[in-house]
Amino acid sequence: MTIRAGVVVFPGTNCEHDTVQALRSLGAEAELVWHRDHDLSGLDGVVLPGGFAHGDYLRTGAIARFSPVMDAVRAFAGAGQPVIGICNGFQILLEAGLLPGAMLHNAGKYVCSYVHVRVEQSDTPFTGLCAKGQVLKIPIAHGEGNYYADPETVEALEAGRQVIFRYVTPQGEVSAEGNPNGSLNNIAGICNQARNVVGLMPHPERACESALGSADGKVVLESVVSALIARA
C-alpha cells in the first residue's frame, strides 16, 4: 500500500517542493494542500513545511495558525495521526498551541548551516527508525529557533520525554558549543503528550541525499512512512 502525505502550503511557504520530493523518493505519495483547503481525508500524514508563512509578519506563524486548514490539522492530530512541523511549520504548531512553548529570535543571528542533533526518543512516528542517542547532521536555516517555555512547561517536557531532538556537538555532547541559537536546554525538536505531533527546527528534507551534503535527515521521513505502512 502507498502512504499519502499532505504538505501544507501557506502564502510564503518555500520548502514544500523539497519536502514533496523527499517523501516521493521514499515511495510515498505526496501532495500539496493549500492553506484554505479543509479536507485532509485520505491522507495518512501531514507536514507543515519550512518557509516564511505570511512573511513572518506580526510573529512567525501567528497568522498561519488561523488558516482554514489548521482546523483540519488540529482534528487530524487529535485523531492521533502523525503531523510534523519543520522549521516554520514548528513555529506554526507552537502558535497554534498544538505544541507547547514559543520561539524567540536566535541569541546571535540568523543561522544557515549544518548542525548536529541527537535523537532523544525513538518512540514517535518520526524517530521510530532511529536509535536513541543517534546523532544526525542536518541543516538549519532560521532566525527564530531559540526555543522558550516557562520553567514548569520545560520541566514537564523533560519529565514526559517530549524533547525529541537536541542540538549537540558532532561528538553528541549537549553544550553551549553545540547550540546554534540559544535554545533552552538545547531543544531542537519536541512532541506533544500523545507523541504523534512533532516539531523540529532543522530541515530533514534537505538532508536526504549525500551528494548534497548529508543523507542523515532521510531517517526522519523514512520513520513515518515505515510506521504508517506498518499501521495499515
Binding site: L58, R59, A62, I63, F66, E95, G101, A102, L104, H105, N106, A107, G108, K109, N146, Y148, A149, D150, G182
Partner: protein, 80 residues
C-alpha cells in the same frame, strides 16, 4: 476611535534583538547604555463609539492574535 496597544515581552524572557541593539550602540560609542529592550506598539482605528466595548474587543484581539501569551503581556489604551 484610536486604540493603541503596547505589546511587551515579559522582562524575565531574553530579548536577543535588544541585546544585539545594545551591543551595536556600544560599538557606536554609546557605552553608557546598560540595557535595551525592544517591544511593539500597535496603532489601530476602530469603528464604534463605546470605549468599553471597543476595549473588550481589542483585548480579545490581543489574546487571540496580537500578543503571544507565552511571551508577552499587553496593554490597551483607548483614546477618549
Amino acid at each position: 476611535m484610536r486604540v493603541t496597544v503596547h505589546v511587551t515581552r515579559r522582562p524575565e524572557i531574553a530579548d536577543p534583538q535588544g541585546t544585539t541593539s545594545s551591543r551595536a550602540l556600544h560599538d557606536l560609542g554609546y557605552g553608557e547604555v546598560r540595557s535595551v529592550r525592544i517591544d511593539r506598539t500597535i496603532h489601530m482605528e476602530v469603528d464604534g463609539d463605546d470605549s468599553a466595548a471597543i476595549r473588550a474587543r481589542v483585548e480579545e484581539m490581543c489574546a487571540r492574535l496580537l500578543a503571544n501569551p507565552v511571551l508577552e503581556d499587553y496593554e490597551v489604551v483607548v483614546e477618549p
